[in-house]
Amino acid sequence: MFKFRFLIISLLLIFISPFATADLTVDSAWIREAPPISRVQAAYATFKNNSSKAIELIKVTSPAFNKIEFHQTIIKNGLTSMQEQSSIVIPAQGVAKLEPEGMHMMLFKPVVPLRAGDNVALHLTLSSGKIIQSNFVVKKATGTNHHQHMHH
């Protein structure tokens, strides 16, 4: 049974892999588990553009959330604020990193509360009209995966 399942997964991976080497790859995709009562949470990922043209991510939707926006956390003059962005641009052959205390997707009002280990599909709409489905894992942040750059 186990071997059979392994075979199925392997076959699936073989079929999926051509898409993974497409123009846009999504890595380290995760959603911060929301504390009880909190109706907002953030999603993070690394978008890699393998093509020679810039890719613009213009919209994200998910059946699991009422609304999703792109937000940039800004720490300026000791004040922390969030600025809504109309899109995320991934430069040609470049990377856009969404990470804690930086750029993130703000997820409003989950349809059901999500717990660590849950998998959530986000639908990413590109300016070309193409829609990519990407799988995000819900994680309880430990505080140690915080990015280390202190010079901004």
């Binding site: 911060r32 929301a34 504390p35 009880p36 009562i37 909190s38 109706r39 907002v40 949470q41 953030a42 937000h71 956390t73 720490i75 000791g78 004040l79 922390t80 604020s81 969030m82 804690p100 205390e101 993130h104 703000m106 997820l107 409003f108 942040a141 430990t142 505080g143 140690t144 915080h146 280390q148 750059h149 202190m150």
Partner: protein
């Protein structure tokens, strides 16, 4: 000047302090001047904290006297904050766990978040939110913005409620990312600016506490 007085002066003013200084230095002795190299702002004279009255997440009154008796780390945030607040509380949780493990002979400082959004962050909301990060953490809120301002103003903590319309319930609150440190005498001792990492906070706090305890 007699020769013996000259020798005494040389010995007393230059040589002995130099030797003592070197010995102390080699012994790992630190002093106030080391505080200048920290990221934290350490106040030369810790600041008095005047009256304020908040309610904690277990519905108990919390005022300036409640801060006495232990070191306290205080962060200002709100529960509808998706990124910075949960990140900072997670950092404080790592800090609490690491201090408990690495410094078992020391009392673990207290960690608290003061809500700058008392309208949405009621005691009930905080009672569900705060223990998620750490059961020993303290959540504080007020019955009005005035009660919150009584503490934010004296700590120079700015915050702005950004409602898009009068009925906006998903509003953002722009707020300071700083963590404040209050000493066991209940005085404002230092300020850590964002972004925070547990390692940096632990190292700097350990030094700040050591120097404070040396007097």
């Amino acid at each position: 000047m007699s020769k013996s007085l000259f020798t005494t002066l040389i010995l007393g003013v230059i040589i002995i302090p130099a030797i003592v200084g070197t010995l102390l230095y080699q012994g790992g002795r630190v002093d106030r001047s080391d505080l200048e190299n920290l990221n934290a702002t350490v106040f030369r004279v810790p600041r008095d904290i005047s009256q304020f009255e908040l309610t904690d997440h277990t519905n108990k009154t919390f005022n300036q006297d409640s801060l006495k008796g232990n070191w306290s780390f205080i962060f200002f945030g709100f529960t509808n904050c998706p990124d910075v607040c949960p990140n900072t509380l997670s950092v404080m949780n790592v800090m609490a766990n690491t201090l408990e493990k690495n410094q078992p002979d020391k009392v673990i400082p207290r960690f608290m978040m003061v809500s700058v959004d008392p309208k949405r962050d009621t005691v009930e909301v905080l009672s569900k939110y705060i223990p998620y990060f750490n059961n020993s953490f303290i959540g504080l809120t007020g019955k009005s913005s005035e009660q919150i301002d009584a503490i934010t103003k004296q700590f120079s903590i700015p915050y702005f409620i950004k409602k898009k319309s009068p009925t906006d319930t998903e509003y953002e609150v722009q707020h300071s990312g700083a963590i404040l440190l209050v000493n066991p005498q209940g005085k404002l001792h230092a300020l850590f600016s964002a972004p925070h990492t547990p390692e940096k906070l632990i190292n700097e706090f350990t030094l700040i506490r050591y120097i404070h305890e040396q007097g």
